[in-house]
């Protein structure tokens, strides 16, 4: 399948499935993750955290801890120095640095259980633990609020007395927990509802869920005597860690070097800082390197989950199933500080569909929970849960096939989205058709089983990236990437370079550079790396090829126009020259004579990222006596542009589906009456284990490669977590016999819904 914009597909490397270059290190344990760095004289850091959901810090007395032998430094919020305020672009949303600083070490209030209050650096973990106990924090406990709807009620405890809802005119008279009101829309919704053939309504809720990466946050920071410092840490962006840490400690960027470790998963949760500024502040105080590593409990308590949501939705449609209008209010938990992805929820909610009249309101609401962090397609899965449930209701009401109904309403190229972008290079309809044609969709269900279908959208982004390609003296090549490799990007970077250079993949290696060794890059997030950094890699490789051709022409004393580069070899097309082709190896070995080392670095701001669309199908059964759900078959289809390394693209689809199924079935933050988290462990925060899921089948739809990328890539990492919530819930609803509106669909809630709890 091809849209005609692309050259015929005769790639040698792109589209193959070579072994990932970082794989052996990762399976043998040789890879160095955040907690694996050790320096001479290094101290153990520990963080003292709030035991309360909401309290004023009356005083912090660290005098006894300071006297404990082995304690070398203690810091609190006053040791931070958030230079000039302002925001930093952190992947998908801007981070207010004042809030980030107050999150890494509290100011005069703690806003959630686990909120960092003080930190110590000591000569051993035991001393550090004892020192924490000796730090005396006096609190004035304040009333707390956890639930998003309760946080909006009059009389709810207000977290920030300077929070006046933005986006409302005139400015509200009183502060509240609503940080911002986003409004989006078009057309005449009222009129459309007045003339609707069918109206569907619903109120939906989802729980806060954690990204659940396997590697807890970890870093080592070392302050230099001359003020030049180094941080080793695992993150989704070494440049982001540098920017935020430097801002929080008021340092020039050039004095701070951040060396990226391997990262054991991030899913968006490592696009901010928690430990790095604290470790560096400790190191600054005592002049010794300091290591900070979170426990899993700390990860749950104090690193970002994504928002739980509460949503009201209303659809108007004709009797034939054409959706004519939609109204939706989305209320998302932001956690302790403003900044939920509710605006992204609004933007994505109806992005799959061509709906003429839309009215969307998004409310960003703070409450006494950890500040949310990005999580794979931030904001989109919750909105899609409500929208795709409502569309399922519509399909049932009209007795229409759920795929046919979605095809009827699908966006097409040229349509305008509610947020102003024009739809381009989209293959949503092709993806829906691919699902319809797939054996899964045609398979008969066994008695007691039901099938759910849902779709999802994500923008995917481009942005700033840098990459270099170095030709080694033996004719191989090294790719220098600016982005931490989370999902196998070393493989895809090396593959695109190999394809462009005409080298076999084994002759190209890829490294991830620190902040001083490559130009700036945005984080690994927004499904941008294969697209944006990949574009930089390909442009650098193209520069190298141009240089190699120039050198061949110089060697042959011919016009460069007569040099052809193919399969890693320069051939002279000038019939008057009787010369042998020059291989990369020969050109590399003679580089001193043709101008010196062969290398190129490209920094760019990649434009033209193409959105992605996914359609998932889930078959499941329910034990009617226990309410336990078993997913028996699952297929994820996605518009992927062109898959550079199809196995890793499939892996993204499977991983997103697995996380989405967990979100739908069991994952949730459970709070007790005191506003304390009751399940800060993997025992009671139930992510799916491998045996919970069937093998997830995938369909890579390559109908519309992205013409703005040299190899047609679209972002693929986030779309697949958008459809599963509703795909699962639509099937559960069919079996229960009524619409399930609150996630998670745990055995307890399903049995209760069946009227048997």
């Amino acid at each position: 399948m091809s849209d005609g914009n692309q050259p015929p597909v005769d790639f040698k490397v792109v589209g193959q499935r070579p072994i990932r270059p970082d794989g052996v290190d990762k399976v043998t344990g040789r890879a160095q993750f955040g907690a694996d760095f050790h320096l001479p004289g290094m101290l153990t850091g520990r963080i003292k955290r709030s035991p309360h959901a909401h309290a004023r810090i009356v005083s912090i007395d660290a005098s006894a801890a300071e006297k404990l032998p082995g304690v070398k430094a203690i810091v609190t919020g006053v040791d931070l120095d958030v230079g000039a305020g302002g925001d930093i672009e952190a992947g998908e949303h801007a981070a207010a640095m004042k809030d980030v600083a107050a999150n890494v070490l509290a100011g005069d209030k703690v806003f959630y259980q686990g909120h960092a209050v003080a930190a110590v650096a000591a000569t051993s973990p035991e001393v550090a633990a004892e020192a924490l106990d000796l730090i005396v924090v006096t609190y004035e406990i304040l009333p707390h609020v956890i639930d998003v709807d309760e946080a909006m009620m009059p009389g709810a405890p207000v977290l920030h007395d300077d929070m006046y809802t933005k986006g409302v005119t005139p400015k509200p008279a009183k502060p509240s927990n609503v940080a911002q009101r986003h409004v989006m829309g078009r057309g005449d919704v009222k009129a459309a509802f007045a003339s609707a053939g069918v109206v569907i309504e619903g109120r939906y809720t989802t729980a806060a869920v954690h990204q659940g990466y396997i590697e807890p946050h970890a870093c080592v920071a070392s302050w230099g005597a001359d003020g030049q410092s180094t941080i080793w840490c695992s993150s989704q962006g070494q440049f982001l860690v540098r920017a935020m840490t430097a801002r929080i400690l008021n340092l020039p960027l050039s004095d701070l070097k951040v060396i990226p470790a391997e990262i054991g998963g991030g899913f968006g949760g490592k696009t901010t800082v928690y430990l790095e500024p604290v470790a560096l502040a400790l190191s600054r105080k005592c002049g010794r390197p300091v290591k900070l590593v979170m426990s899993r409990e700390e990860v749950f308590l104090a690193s970002g989950p994504t928002s739980g949501a509460s949503m009201d939705i209303k659809l108007a449609a004709t009797k034939d199933g054409k959706i004519t209008a939609a109204e939706m209010e989305l209320r998302y938990q932001a956690g302790a500080f403003a900044g939920s992805p509710v605006n992204l929820g609004c933007m994505t909610a109806f992005a799959c569909y061509d709906v003429e009249n839309l009215a969307l309101v998004g409310l960003d609401v703070v409450s006494n929970r950890p500040k949310v962090a990005a999580y794979r397609a931030p904001g989109a899965p919750m909105a899609a849960f409500a929208v795709e449930s409502a569309i399922d209701d519509l399909a049932r009401k009209l007795d229409m096939d759920p795929i046919d109904l979605r095809i009827l309403n699908a966006v097409k190229d040229g349509a305008k989205t509610v947020y102003g972008a024009t739809v381009r290079y989209s293959a949503f309809i092709e993806t829906l058709e691919a699902v319809k044609a797939h054996p899964h969709y045609k398979a008969k269900l066994k008695p007691g089983q039901a099938r759910g279908v849902a779709a999802g959208f994500w923008f995917n982004i481009g942005g700033e990236s840098s990459a270099a390609v170095h030709v080694d003296e033996d004719g191989g090549a090294t790719v220098v990437s600016s982005n931490p490799d989370i999902g196998g990007s070393r493989a895809s970077m090396a593959m695109m370079a190999a394809e462009t250079l005409g080298l076999p993949i084994e002759r190209v290696r890829c490294t991830i550079a620190d902040t001083t060794s490559i130009g700036f890059s945005g984080s690994t997030g927004g499904s941008r790396v294969t697209f944006a950094t990949g574009m930089a890699v390909v442009e650098a490789a193209q520069k190298v090829v141009a240089d190699l051709k120039r050198r061949a022409a110089q060697t042959w004393e011919c016009d460069i126009a007569h040099v052809e580069w193919r399969d890693g070899v320069a051939t002279c097309l000038d019939p008057s020259k009787n010369v042998k082709p020059l291989s990369m190896k020969v050109l590399a070995s003679k580089s001193a004579k043709t101008g010196g080392p062969i290398a190129a670095e490209v920094s760019l701001n990649a434009q033209g990222a193409a959105a992605g669309y996914g359609v998932h199908v889930c078959d499941l059964e329910i034990d009617a006596e226990t309410g336990r759900t078993t997913v028996v078959r699952y297929t994820a289809a996605q518009d992927v542009g062109r898959a550079i390394h199809p196995a890793y693209v499939e892996g993204q689809l499977q991983g997103g589906a697995a996380q989405g199924v967990g979100w739908a079935l069991n994952e949730e933050y459970v709070y007790n009456k005191q506003g304390l988290l009751d399940n800060a462990s993997f025992l009671d925060y139930r992510m799916p284990v491998a045996s919970d899921l069937p093998m997830i089948d995938t369909i890579l739809v390559e109908a519309k490669p992205n013409p703005r990328h040299p190899y047609g890539a679209k972002g693929v990492g986030e779309v697949p977590i958008v459809p599963p919530l509703a795909a699962v819930s639509n099937a559960v609803s069919a079996l229960v016999g009524k619409r399930m509106t609150a996630l998670p669909l745990s055995p307890v809630s399903v049995l209760a819904a069946m009227g048997k709890g």
């Binding site: 051993s124 035991e126 001393v127 633990a129 004892e130 409990e297 034990d623 006596e625 226990t626 309410g627 336990r628 079935l665 069991n666 459970v670 009751d678 399940n679 025992l683 009671d684 139930r686 799916p688 284990v689 045996s691 919970d692 745990s746 055995p747 307890v748 049995l751 209760a752 048997k756 709890g757």
Partner: protein, 297 residues
């Protein structure tokens, strides 16, 4: 900061003196899959850890007088590999093997599972239904006590401060006997029972139930022996009325709490369901049919 002393006695007498010497700051260690996790999380802070695995026989399984003696520290893996035990007490073995993962199975013991005294401990209802007897060593020699008398509340046991659980005795199995354990977990593994139920039955030759013991877990501060539920089966052929009586007896016996893992209503309802299902699996096994094996919920 003081460290933790680790000792590995070679006899039970040494273990008991070590416990006495530690004066309340000593903890016995079998597989450590509860204890070490608690120490790491700061919930247990012993000064002395006394490893039991060096005591001869405590980590082994042997047959005696047609029954079995399972060492208190014998690992789940060892139990799962024991052919004779699997045949005679499939319910006890399946409960022991549900604990944790392959890695945890290499260490986790029945003694640790019982003495950690979690209301949700998986092997405990199965051991109670089986009528297992604990062999307990103390400064004044050995005593015996039924499993259902050991747990006294979450994290609490009736063992003396200087007593060591040595072994579980499982009696000789009459003909036509079978047992089964089922638990409800939201996932498929690596989870903690929201409800557990074990049933052990003996039938006469035509298939009528002549004795039955029913035990439920995670629905009260300790695992419970529900004698009325066993009586509901005795004399029946597992007909609907008997099963309904069994369910009713279990529901009455449940004293659950509502917590993050389940509500009172849910636990009560599902305990009855699992007890019924376990009873039917136990019956099938007693009749020599393994049709229902592995039908854990």
């Amino acid at each position: 900061m003081s460290g933790v002393e680790y000792i590995s006695p070679g006899t039970v007498a040494e273990a008991i003196s070590a416990l006495q010497a530690a004066g309340g700051n000593g903890r016995l260690l079998a597989g450590g899959t509860d204890l070490l996790v608690q120490m790491r999380g700061g919930r247990a802070k012993p000064k002395v850890v006394i490893d039991l695995k060096g005591i001869p026989g405590i980590a082994a399984i042997r047959e005696e007088a047609g029954g079995f003696i399972i060492g208190a520290a014998a690992s789940g893996a060892l139990i799962g590999e024991h052919e004779g035990l699997r045949k005679a007490w499939p319910g006890v073995v399946e409960a022991a093997n549900l604990i944790g993962s392959t890695q945890v199975q290499g260490r986790a013991s029945l003694g640790g599972n019982l003495c950690n005294a979690s209301p949700a401990a998986d092997s405990v209802p199965a051991l109670i239904a089986a009528g297992a007897i604990c062999v307990i060593a103390g400064p004044n020699g050995q005593r015996e006590a039924p499993v259902e008398t050991i747990q006294s509340g979450p994290g609490k046991t009736t063992l003396g401060k200087d007593e060591v659980l040595m072994a579980f005795k499982l009696p000789k199995r009459p003909a036509h006997s079978g047992d089964a354990y089922l638990r409800l977990i939201p996932r498929t593994e690596m989870d903690i029972a929201v409800v557990g139920a074990a049933v052990s039955v003996t039938l006469d030759a035509p298939g009528k139930c002549i004795s039955a013991r029913v035990s439920i877990g995670a629905v009260a501060p300790t695992a419970l022996l529900v004698e009325t539920a066993g009586s509901a089966l005795v004399g029946s052929s597992f007909d609907d009325v008997a099963l309904a009586n069994l369910e009713a007896a279990v529901a009455v016996a449940c004293k659950p709490i509502s917590d993050k893992r389940g509500t009172i209503e849910y636990r009560t309802k599902v305990a009855a369901v699992l007890a019924r299902r376990a009873a039917l699996i136990a019956r099938d096994r007693a009749q020599g049919s393994d049709r229902a094996q592995g039908a854990a919920s």
